[in-house]
């Protein structure tokens, strides 16, 4: 197990190196000049003097390799520079936004972990019964409804007409209900479908037939033989979906004006705020690498076949 973990962690280094070069190179190869963008954002006049000043400020007069290394060493000290538009420290902005997004994603994960098994068991207990029909309808709707449409319909119903849930802000736990549910719905739908198929597959398995032949109670067979085996691939996919969950926050945060990474990056793209975009690429790459690592470890933990190194 330890060997496995160390190998996975060592694999991160080349990936991070490539991402850092891409993030750095992006600013260098911009179609729009970084100096120009900064001057426009700060209402500076285009004089030679000002251009030299800005170049000096960002260290643009040095050779590229030197710039890359000084940039990397700054990044390692968590110094991403200042935002072009708000003159705030990028690291501070990003950290605040990241916390908000992580909280939202965590709340969505809670919905997923609670609702997936419930709906999955609902539908697999009696295939083609009315509960199965309901769950399948729910899943079909869940994958087809755009998250922003769902978000607005929920705001209209619960926030404006029934007035039982707050529509924006993040002060109390009530604020989490709508955005996190809207974020999790598409994921829940795909996981439930997966769990249902797995369970129906396992129901036909030889071990289930044997357990039934031994006269074990139906409930016990369902729990220990069918449910447990069906959870394996689902746990695997839930781990992988952490990254997709964070990607999904981009739209939801804009619907519910959630002060997270998604809103930050959308504003940054529209304002061409390159230091923010650059730092975001690095951060998101690290988040995905960690999420993939967690997913790998999670599946190794639940599935002894991987943990004990059965190499196919």
């Amino acid at each position: 197990m330890r060997k496995y973990i160390i190998k996975q962690i060592l694999m991160i280094i080349p990936t991070l190196l490539i991402v850092s070069i891409v993030a750095f190179g992006m600013i260098r190869m911009l179609p729009a000049d970084a100096v120009e963008t900064y001057m426009l954002a700060n209402h500076l006049e285009m004089t030679d003097e000002n251009i030299a000043m800005v170049e000096e400020k960002f260290g643009l007069h040095e050779p590229v390799v030197t710039q890359y290394f000084s940039w990397v060493s700054a990044v390692l000290h968590l110094d991403f520079g200042e935002s072009y538009t708000s003159n705030q420290e990028v690291a501070d902005m990003l950290w605040k936004a990241f916390k908000a997004t992580a909280q939202l994603a965590g709340a969505a994960m809670l919905w997923i972990v609670v609702l997936t098994p419930v709906l999955g068991i609902f539908s697999a207990k009696k295939p083609n019964g009315w509960m199965d029909g309901f769950t399948r309808m729910f899943c079909l709707m869940g994958t087809a409804i755009p998250t922003f449409v769902l978000g607005f319909f929920m705001i209209r119903l619960f926030g404006v007409q029934l007035k039982i849930l707050p529509v924006s802000g993040k002060e109390s736990w009530m604020n989490y209900i709508m955005p996190s549910f809207a974020l999790s719905l598409a994921h829940i739908s795909s996981f439930v479908q997966m769990l249902r198929n797995e369970m129906l597959e396992n129901k036909k398995g030889a071990f289930t037939l044997y357990a039934n032949a031994r006269g074990i109670k139906e409930g016990v067979v369902f729990r220990t033989h069918i449910l447990k085996n069906s959870m394996l691939p689902v746990v695997n996919t839930v781990g992988i979906s952490i990254g997709r969950l964070i990607a999904g926050t981009v739209v939801i945060e804009n619907v519910f004006s959630w002060p997270g990474l998604g809103q930050l990056i959308t504003k940054a793209i529209l304002a061409r705020d390159y230091p923010v975009i650059q730092a975001y690429i690095l951060l998101i790459a690290i988040v995905f690498i960690c999420a993939n690592l967690i997913a790998d470890l999670l599946s190794a933990w639940v599935d002894p076949r991987i943990r004990l190194g059965e190499k196919g």
């Binding site: 992006m26 087809a144 409804i145 755009p146 404006v160 990607a247 981009v250 619907v255 940054a268 995905f288």
Partner: protein, 269 residues
């Protein structure tokens, strides 16, 4: 064994046919200029002249929806078609030629796959700047990966088939083998993939437009209309409701159709 076509497929097909007609004849169907501002007619309720009412500029929501369907679905379908072509051809070539070319295609697609496509597309748009051309370019640059992988793995097995080997022995050129013996074998899988992902491409495009980094105003587009309407959610919900409902129904129809097509194909194989 011939299976009966389920009832829902008839409904879905009828709806998609309607969408197709709207796309083809949108300019003839509209009764008002969709960009004409008429501030005296703000927030008209539904009526015979304005079936879906009017928005905050007094523009006819119905006419704007018709044109938006044409743009949203039309652009998404074009993107998807080009993506399938690029992806399939690239995958075929990678598998057929093999060697270094195959390795490069493989490494690049592996690297891109470790990030969600939404983030990749956003990063490309961040780099190029937000505009209609750039979102199309970005979606093309990211979406080919899946098709390449599928067509590559299919070609790898098709390449070993007896009839392909026989054609090779007869001295057929590589182009002939690829076009006449391998491409037809890929066709059905690609059609299924195409139908299945159409819904999500339409959804993705509308999502980016909603965020302001996709198709740009004043082109009427469903995502843009939803984004314009969201400020009216308390007062004039209907302006937001119609484009949302239409988008939902279109994506849902493609989803149902795609599921059915893939089920049929799996049943046959």
């Amino acid at each position: 064994m011939k299976k009966k076509i389920p009832f829902r497929i008839y409904i879905v097909s009828a709806f998609l046919l309607l969408v197709l007609i709207v796309m083809a004849f949108a300019p003839q169907l509209i009764t008002h200029d969709p960009t004409a501002v008429d501030l005296l007619n703000k927030y008209d309720p539904s009526s015979l002249t304005y079936p879906f009412g009017t928005d905050d500029y007094g523009r006819c929501v119905f006419c704007r929806c018709l044109l938006a369907i044409r743009n949203s679905v039309g652009i998404a379908v074009s993107i998807e078609t080009v993506t399938v072509l690029i992806g399939t051809i690239l995958g075929m070539l990678a598998a057929y030629i093999g060697g270094v070319f195959d390795q490069i295609v493989n490494v690049v697609s592996e690297a891109l796959l470790s990030f969600p496509s939404v983030i990749l597309i956003m990063m490309i748009v961040a780099f190029l700047g937000a505009s209609t051309e750039n979102i199309i370019l970005a979606m093309l640059m990211v979406n080919w990966i899946w098709y390449t992988r599928i067509s590559r793995s299919l070609t790898l097995t098709l390449k070993e088939r007896k009839y392909v080997q026989a054609a090779k022995l007869c001295g057929a050129s590589s182009a002939t083998i690829l076009l006449r013996h391998i491409a037809p074998g890929l066709m059905s899988q690609m059609v299924v993939q195409f139908t299945m992902s159409l819904g999500s491409v339409i959804l993705g495009l509308a999502g980016f437009s909603f965020l302001g980094i996709g198709i740009q105003r004043p082109t009427p587009e469903l995502g843009i209309m939803i984004s314009d309407g969201c400020g009216l959610i308390r007062t004039n919900f209907m302006v937001l409701f119609w484009p949302s409902l239409i988008l939902f129904l279109i994506v849902l129809s493609f989803q149902i159709l795609g599921d059915w097509v893939s089920e049929r194909l799996r049943g046959r194989a």
